[in-house]
Symmetry: none
Subunit: 213 residues, 4 copies
Amino acid sequence: MGIQERKERERERRRQGIMLAAKRVFTAKGYENSTMEDIAKEAELSPGTLYLYFKNKDALYASLSLRVLQYMTVRLEHALEDGSKSYADLKAALLEAMYDIYDFDAVILNNMFHLQSSETLKELSDDILEEINALSRKALRMITAVFSTGMGEGVIHKYHPTAVADIFWSMFTGAVLWEETKKMINPERYTLRETLDTSFDILYRGLDIRSAP
Amino acid sequence: MGIQERKERERERRRQGIMLAAKRVFTAKGYENSTMEDIAKEAELSPGTLYLYFKNKDALYASLSLRVLQYMTVRLEHALEDGSKSYADLKAALLEAMYDIYDFDAVILNNMFHLQSSETLKELSDDILEEINALSRKALRMITAVFSTGMGEGVIHKYHPTAVADIFWSMFTGAVLWEETKKMINPERYTLRETLDTSFDILYRGLDIRSAP
Amino acid sequence: MGIQERKERERERRRQGIMLAAKRVFTAKGYENSTMEDIAKEAELSPGTLYLYFKNKDALYASLSLRVLQYMTVRLEHALEDGSKSYADLKAALLEAMYDIYDFDAVILNNMFHLQSSETLKELSDDILEEINALSRKALRMITAVFSTGMGEGVIHKYHPTAVADIFWSMFTGAVLWEETKKMINPERYTLRETLDTSFDILYRGLDIRSAP
Amino acid sequence: MGIQERKERERERRRQGIMLAAKRVFTAKGYENSTMEDIAKEAELSPGTLYLYFKNKDALYASLSLRVLQYMTVRLEHALEDGSKSYADLKAALLEAMYDIYDFDAVILNNMFHLQSSETLKELSDDILEEINALSRKALRMITAVFSTGMGEGVIHKYHPTAVADIFWSMFTGAVLWEETKKMINPERYTLRETLDTSFDILYRGLDIRSAP
DNA sequence: AATGAATGAGAATTCATTCAT
DNA sequence: CATGAATGAATTCTCATTCAT
């Protein structure tokens, strides 16, 4: 029985190894320009082996998205779990969580919408698809809760909380994306932290009940 | 020379025709899934002809990005040109301009970072690349000026004006992107205008000097 | 308009060229062991070109089957068309036709049932499939008519005419197949004509009303 | 040595198990569409194990052909062994034997000529090849003997007895094959027995000395 | 200038076979 | 003996690009 477990663990290890290799390659070249052979080489495996762990290239990509989403929900859960936290604490915790999530896998996060192509979606197993959707919804629900709390406390303006969560999320991905773009043109400076800080500073301020009418 | 000119005009006309066809195809299928033959068919030309007007597929795509950027700078110029406008007027004009830009070509706008892939960039002629960069900088400079004006008037907080412009831009693209994503999952509701309105409402409020410290 | 026609003719010419090359390769190696590259090489074309004329490998194969069937029906039509022929004449003409058909393309005829694999069938366009079926039925109907005539004249036993046609056809393909097998083992002797002569001699005799009860 | 024997027996047992699994898979999917893994799964073994019993996929297939041929020769031997039987008895016994053989393994019987591909033959060990040939010849010799007897008795026409045996065999395989084809197009009706009955009825009648000249 | 047939360099994927455990 | 993970060659098919007409 120990054997069974060890095998299982090794299998998972290898799966992770492939995913990390894939992440590096996708990050460097983008999805379409990355070949399965590139990824195999990066993982120091043969191309055929990849298919023992992932049904096809899209499934491999989807699993990376899943990985970010899983990390994100866990991280958010951890940050926001204490139901008794005040909005002031929650909004700070939320920010910290977003930084971590960005560090975890910025690129996949951005390109997650590769999955949107309906061609791609069709090929994915329903399980994966369902899980991706479930995790997305869950993450968004948690972000929404933060702003609901703030509204409940009467410390922020009464927008539709889901809309605010959307905006929060848009701002985050927009900033990450834009940072990548700027990095391409001008690789040396790396200022996402500052940009995000300022972004959310303005956002939080704009929401604040004490802000102008 | 009248003949020369007419020829030139006709050439430009055809170029535009190809670009519009390409835009339609890219919009419908995405960059990688669009073939040169698709575009040729849409333009009612033969594949070979496309190469008389564009060096290759990437150049065609880049020219579309250029087109959006050109529209964007022209539109912003027009909106913001009057140096004597107040921040209050400018910020309203800026918003109007962004809506127009979105309407002009949302999809290319979103996918502009397709060009980021360094593989792609390598193949582009320096001219095009330089022009893209120049236009981007110009557009950003104009947006920056709006917020500089606000700071000069003392009606908004003194962040770094370029950072605020970045954030403005991030928020815009983030919202557009996120809207596309939601559309995929839940195609019926289409609320970008409202989301953008709320986004910029909060942003402007957050910048407002009367907002909380 | 002459140009249009010439193009059409050349296209058809090339199509035929590919089909003949494919026939040679399939004959030498069998369907599964023949690669599209083999066929391209044999046709002195590049692999990509094959796909301009045939949707995929199966379609190419199917078109070869179609070709035999077309030849077969035309040849049978020609042999049996004169409605006033006696059974004696018809049965001789039928034999001659079968020899010609064998000469035209023995191997494809045998492997035609490659198409039976339901996997294969699914991928074929309905048009081709329908045509294959239609031609098969037509050929069999003509063969049936020969034996019906014989029964009408009262010169052969009253079996079910369709069954007799089936048997005639089975005997033919069985003989061709068996001949191929023997050729593999013992390549020098080539006796299909004689075997077929004897086969049909016995068959015709067995049908003859004057044969034993 | 009892151990030795038991081991030998067990080994043979497992070999048979693999062959039966392979037969089921080949029958369901055809040779090319069956993977070694399919067969391993059906045999409840791992792919590697198959190679402990069969040199490669072709050898496994060949061993199945051998199995049919072995059954065929044994069955024919049993049916025809009594040297004193009359042609009338022999021809009836032959028919019965053929039905049994068909029941034993119709599909492999039909596809036996898969082995003909010279590519395939090259890979087979000489032993197997020789045995296949020897069994084929033996079976054919026995069939030939039946018709020789008939000619000796003066009850059937004096064709070349080997040729008649060939025809008998061709008719059998042709009918089986054609039946399969018809089954594909029109799966419900299944009439091989009747077709074979009629076929051989006509054949025997055609051979009969009392038939027309 | 325009055409569009032809090219051929890949890309994803499969699967018979091997070999360390 | 048995396993089954890993291999990597081979195959089908696509599509950006070229070039003779």
